[in-house]
Symmetry: C2
Subunit: 112 residues, 2 copies
Amino acid sequence: MKPEVLKGHLDSILLAALEPQPLHGYAIMEKLRARSRASIDLPTGTVYPALHRLERAGLIESDWSTVSGRRRRTYRLTTAGRRKLREDRASWRQFSKTVSMLLDTAPAKATP
Amino acid sequence: MKPEVLKGHLDSILLAALEPQPLHGYAIMEKLRARSRASIDLPTGTVYPALHRLERAGLIESDWSTVSGRRRRTYRLTTAGRRKLREDRASWRQFSKTVSMLLDTAPAKATP
DNA sequence: CCGCATAGGTAGCGTTGCTATATGTTCGCA
DNA sequence: TGCGAACATATAGCAACGCTACCTATGCGG
């Protein structure tokens, strides 16, 4: 999967990953890689800035912890984040339906 | 529909619009607006540069003409453009399936 | 004559994801 | 003992992309 097509959808995907339970950045990457059968394999330079962006936007919150000597920053959805995810799901459905239709072989005229 | 989600998919949409028959830029905008029931309403500052990009990439070709006093630049797909469109359709299906799956409520663990 | 639809164009901007690089820990294995 | 892989986070700088805002020009209806 070409990387650039993700643009504009990454945030929703990250929020969705955090919906069932809080996760730290590295765990999010693994989860997405697993659930997408490796077709989404995000580099750290994409995930961490994106998480910071989402936190600045108030959609997620984080806490530091240390697990077996390693520092972890665990993120969870805020109320605004859950709301945003709901909206994102709706607009994804709309978007994906529209693009699918436009990519279908278009009739030359109004199906004459 | 938020504009930025289009990123990475605009090219495919333009190619698809040109598949059944050659069109000029303005006509493409109208066609997409009509076929998407106005949910895709591209500004000229998006369409024209994109068409130039596609032409530079060898995916479309153009000819100038004049229709009732107005200069028109009519674009048509090249062979490479048709091939690209075929590939784009395949990767769109893959992409859309993947994102739809990831946006579905994710199980906390492996559905225990 | 004014304004709208038609038709094309560019400059500059902001967002976004990526590459590359950095830091530090733990663990397996040779 | 030492070395690399996995774990874990982070940032600087880049390139691509679509958008806003603006410009030019014609034809037509009111």
